[in-house]
């Protein structure tokens, strides 16, 4: 176990100062927010020991605001705040639901959405909802601002489109419309505080004909990054929806994922759980629409 007592920690009070330190130090520092992943990784030697840029006290990065047609979430916003935000509960409910299952109360209080995104665990619960909500990540540096769609932010296992002088400062998500519905699903090995074996977010747009005009599905923990289930989306869009068609569509997810065996489950189990979870999600969405069931 590595000790961290002798590393340098920069603790700027403003975003401007933080960006200046990043410009100067670049790769020599690692940004720390809540630290719920980073500290463990540095102690375990998974992450090299580096000096830290502690942004935790930059309160200007903690907010949830309504934008023109998006919701803007400051990168330091905690999952407790996201889960309990009326704005998010009303307009991006699947993100609030994911935030609620991310970990224990202590983790939810401490961990930030920006940290979860940059840590880039394939099993991160906040990422699938952000995929289907077309999230845009705002990256700032002394040079300026870049806005990166979430799907192009992740380029492979823990490979990110972010420069060493850039700081993730904001996440923007689309507001869900009246004719949209969605669900976040998590399969963990215990009911509380579990790391996902598979997680998924579904977002559908209904047409006037009880069919999906548009479907977006993203899954976590089944590939090096969160992935979209394009085969399922295609099999569902504009199609008649009944028990057998949603099973068939859900089954297609195996084409979109590449799970591995690990201590939490075998690849085979993850494949089956992906199918079953999508079935459950689709059933819930359709059943809500058609309370009589079919």
């Amino acid at each position: 176990m590595n000790r961290l007592h002798d590393i340098e920690v920069y603790s700027p009070k403003t975003l401007e100062e933080a960006l200046e330190i990043l410009r100067r130090e670049g790769d020599r520092v690692k940004v720390i927010a809540g630290g719920t992943d980073l500290i463990i990784q540095m102690k375990d030697g998974i992450m090299p020991r580096k000096n830290l840029l502690n942004i935790y006290s930059i309160d200007e990065l903690r907010y949830i605001r309504m934008g023109n047609d998006s919701i803007r979430i400051g990168a330091l916003t905690s999952f407790t705040d996201i889960a309990s935000s009326a704005l998010i509960r009303n307009y991006a409910r699947i993100l609030a639901d994911a935030a609620n299952t991310i970990g224990s109360i202590q983790i939810m209080n401490k961990a930030s959405i920006g940290g979860n995104l940059v840590n880039a665990s394939p099993a991160a619960d906040s990422i699938p909802p952000l995929y289907v909500l077309d999230a845009v990540l705002v990256l700032r540096s002394v040079e300026g601002v870049r806005e990166v769609p979430i799907q192009s932010f992740y380029r492979g296992y823990k490979k990110l489109d972010i420069r060493s002088d850039e700081l993730l400062t904001e996440v923007r998500v689309r507001r869900m419309a009246e004719d949209e519905d969605g669900i976040f699903l998590k399969h963990g090995l215990r009911l509380g505080d579990a790391i996902s074996v598979v997680n998924a977010a579904l977002l559908v747009k209904w047409d006037g004909d009880d069919r999906f005009k548009d479907v977006k599905i993203a899954l976590g923990a089944v590939a090096p990054t969160v992935v979209r289930a394009r085969s399922c989306e295609e099999a569902l869009t504009g199609k008649e929806l009944n028990d057998s068609t949603i099973w068939d569509a859900a089954s297609k997810v195996v084409n979109d994922i590449s799970p591995i065996d690990d201590v939490r489950g075998t690849a085979e189990y993850r494949r089956e759980m992906s199918v079953n979870l999508l079935y459950i999600g689709l059933w819930e969405i359709i059943n809500k629409r058609n309370q009589a069931g079919w």
Binding site: R190, G192, Y269, M273, I280
Partner: protein, 758 residues
């Protein structure tokens, strides 16, 4: 039932406030000036020959004061039943937690870095990772004596004849997992030389006197040179019954003269600490057409891992309880304790009983189903009642509450709604069910000798100090003893002070285990109290000239029943002091026992605790996730001393039972533990702990202190089979292996074709 002033009331525990506000000092909270840190280098391999150990580089590391190996241990084998465990490994390592060398350094960092500089050359040996291969005997041996540490066979009646005449026979093989104690506080302690020159170890533990004995024996120290103190411990559950850091700490202080501290990381604790025995149990059980159990043939294999520890006794408890709380006329039990390189198994709450109860309670349920009988009815037709003879032809003379518990379970609303619950499907993939299980376990250590002493000191201001070596491991025994003492000595609870577990100041009250410390210490306290009351009355006679038979004690006074004259306890203390009679009293209690039946160490017990449990589960057939929605626990633990503590004990045990039943999966692959922290080894979170209802079945144990018996273990024992039986009720699938993890259950449901939503 007799009413008492203190006993039976839900009084907040004496230690509650200090624990809540963080004032209590646990073993890991002790520090001293000039203190060294100890760090153990543990084995890299599950099984390997040690060719050489070179500590020269470690010794040169800055901050290192000493490095110890087996050469520093005068008697390098210890163990409670069989001395097979080295303090520091010499010839071989036998599991990945095995200690090879010990570093003492000025800082924990230096100690850890130096440990990594020790150059140990190993010759890896074939890993014995399977009990069945281990017993075949042609492969690698964990110990020279062979891989079967103990085996025995116990038979009564004739099972074969009974099978011939049976209406129904059920045969299954069950497997149960290696549970990890996962106490809040990992193993920790501090050692130093006290004012009298004794090597003093303040550490976790469950038995100060036994720990002291093992320290003295291995390090060849005279008894008077060692003192062991066990402060309140952050959880033990049997996992601190065996030695962990104690001998290491004593060794550092012995060799350096300096204080030393150790505090294991979660990972080191998880790898090195003892675990619950994995068990393989085959059972063939027969009944007649009325559901009367006729025969039970059982084969039990317990994997004890690298060392025996308390394994031989755990095997006995498994043997003793594998027939459940039932009268079965014909039994045949073959049992083996087998060495492997998987881990090191020893004591864990339930001590062999949870494994076998999972098997027999699944069997009984299966028989009920075959006969179309209600699961509670079949149990009631077979349970032992007071005065009956048990399976070992032993007369059950202690209190027996199992029939009452099952009768109450049968009338519980959850059981009455059982079929409605099963039919309710709020989602096509959710199945609900309700299951029941009974449980039994002896408390006390059975036919093994067991005695304890408790002392009482009357202070000059008329209060009492109770001195005993019970260890407060979270269970509440110290507060319960205070409550009993206040009634026995007839005084206010605030006038009772407890001094516990310091070998230089408190008498030997034996080990805190087997759910019996309250029973043992309580009975010793009763004797000491009688002695103390005699002294108080003697003081009264001296002061008043009235005869002793006129006097009795009442609320802090000795009172004459004829004249009404009274003498306060503080006045009595003064008189006892002046007259040289002394203000101390001791009581010794030896637990009654029988002679063990041939082939066993400690069977049978004279005293048993019982329980019934009802579990309501919800199974997601598309994921295999089991949600325990409600648990009803009906423990018979005799007279309840403190309802709050009692409920806490039972609920805590039941939560641990849920972990055992559905969550806690210690993955060991070829001798390597893969789940070394609490992110991969999953214990129940608050969301996994269901609504629980604890209904005490209060029987009076005549031999117990004010009618009490033990309660520490019984809460965990019926949970896994109750959950498994509920899963069967919900899905039609019987699981034969715990923990019933989602992936495992999902596969079983799929094999059985039971995972189609509808």
């Amino acid at each position: 039932m007799q009413q008492f002033r203190w006993v039976g009331r839900p009084i907040p525990r004496l230690d509650a406030l200090d624990k809540a506000v963080g004032r209590t000092k646990y073993p890991s909270d002790y520090y001293m000036d000039n203190m060294l840190w100890g760090k153990v280098l543990r084995s890299k391999y599950p099984h390997a020959k040690i060719l050489s150990i070179d500590v020269s580089k470690a010794l040169k590391h800055p901050g290192v004061v000493a490095v110890f190996t087996h050469k520093d241990i005068p008697n390098n084998r210890f163990g409670l039943f069989h001395k097979d465990r080295p303090v520091l490994c010499d010839d071989k390592v036998r599991y990945i937690g095995d200690p090879v060398a010990l570093v003492a350094a000025e800082t924990p960092e230096a100690a850890e870095d130096a440990a990594n500089l020790i150059d140990v050359r190993y010759e890896p040996l074939p890993v014995v990772d399977d009990v069945f291969k281990a017993v075949e005997g042609d492969g690698a041996k964990v110990h020279e004596r062979g891989n079967v540490a103990r085996q025995t066979r116990i038979t009564f009646g004739d099972v074969e004849e009974a099978f011939d005449n049976a209406e129904v026979i059920v045969e299954n093989t069950y497997r149960t997992g290696a549970q990890i104690h996962a106490y809040l506080e990992t193993e920790a302690g501090l050692s130093y030389i006290d004012e009298k020159g004794r090597i003093t170890i303040v550490s976790c533990g469950q038995s100060p006197y036994r720990d002291k004995k093992e320290i003295c024996e291995t390090l060849a120290l005279p008894e008077e040179k060692v003192r062991v103190i066990i402060p309140p411990v952050g959880g033990a559950f049997g996992g601190k019954d065996d030695i962990s850091v104690q001998i290491f700490l004593a060794l550092i202080t012995l060799k350096t003269g300096r204080p030393a501290k150790m505090f294991l990381s979660r990972e080191e604790s998880t790898i090195s600490s003892t675990k619950r025995h994995m068990a393989y149990i085959t059972m063939k059980t027969a009944a007649d057409k009325n559901g009367k159990l006729l025969a039970n043939q059982t084969e039990i294999i317990l994997d004890t891992g690298a060392y025996e520890g308390l394994g031989p006794a755990v095997l006995d408890v498994a043997i003793e309880n594998c027939n459940g709380p039932y009268k079965i006329p014909n039994i045949d039990i073959k049992a083996k304790l087998v060495y492997t390189n998987n881990y090191f198994a020893s004591a864990f709450r339930g001590f062999g009983a949870p494994q076998v109860m999972f098997a027999i309670e699944s069997q009984v349920d299966a028989i009920a189903e075959k006969l179309g009988l209600d699961p509670i009815e079949i149990r009631l037709r077979n349970v032992v009642r007071r005065g009956d003879y048990g399976v070992f032809r032993n007369k059950i003379e202690g209190s027996v509450g199992i029939a009452d518990a099952l009768e109450k379970a049968r009338m519980h609303e959850l059981w009455l709604r059982r079929d409605d619950i099963r039919k309710t499907r709020h989602r096509p993939w959710i199945r609900q069910g309700v299951g029941v299980a009974a449980a039994v376990k002896g408390y006390t250590i059975g036919a093994l000798p067991d005695k304890g002493v408790v002392g009482i000191e009357l202070t000059t201001d008329g209060r009492f100090i109770i001195k005993l070596s019970s260890t407060e491991i979270g269970q509440g025994v110290v507060a319960a003893i205070a409550q009993i003492a206040a009634d026995m000595l007839s005084c206010h609870l605030k006038n009772i002070e407890i001094k516990a577990a310091d070998t230089s100041q408190t008498p030997d009250t034996s080990v805190t285990s087997a759910s019996r410390q309250l029973y043992l210490a309580g009975n010793a306290l009763r004797k000491a109290s009688e002695e103390m009351i005699k002294k108080l009355i003697t003081a009264f006679s001296i002061a008043t000239g009235e005869p002793a038979y006129n006097a009795s004690v009442s609320d802090g006074y000795v009172v004459s029943t004829s004249t009404g004259r009274r003498l306060s306890y503080s006045e009595a203390a003064r008189i006892l002091e002046e007259k040289g009679i002394g203000r101390e009293a001791f009581g010794e209690y030896e637990v009654p026992r029988t002679t063990p039946i041939p082939g066993t160490l400690e069977i049978p017990h004279l005293f048993y605790m019982y329980a019934a449990a009802i579990a309501h589960v919800e199974v997601n057939i598309l994921t295999g996730v089991v949600k325990v929605k409600k648990l009803v626990l009906l423990p018979d633990a005799g007279r309840v001393i403190n309802p709050q503590t009692f409920t806490g004990q039972v609920e805590g045990a039941a939560a641990q039972g849920i972990g055992y039943a559905v969550l806690e999966d210690a993955k060991i692959e070829q001798g390597i533990l893969r789940t070394i922290n609490l992110s991969t080894y999953l214990i129940p979170s608050i969301k996994d702990a269901p609504a629980m209802e604890v209904i005490p079945i209060e029987t009076t144990e005549d031999t117990g202190p004010l009618g009490a018996k033990g309660v520490g273990e019984i809460g965990i024992i019926p949970v896994a089979p109750a959950v498994a039986n509920a899963i069967k009720h919900a899905t039609g699938v019987r699981v034969l292996e715990v923990p019933i993890t989602p992936e495992r259950l999902y596969r079983r449901l799929k094999e059985a074709g039971q995972n189609t939503p509808r």
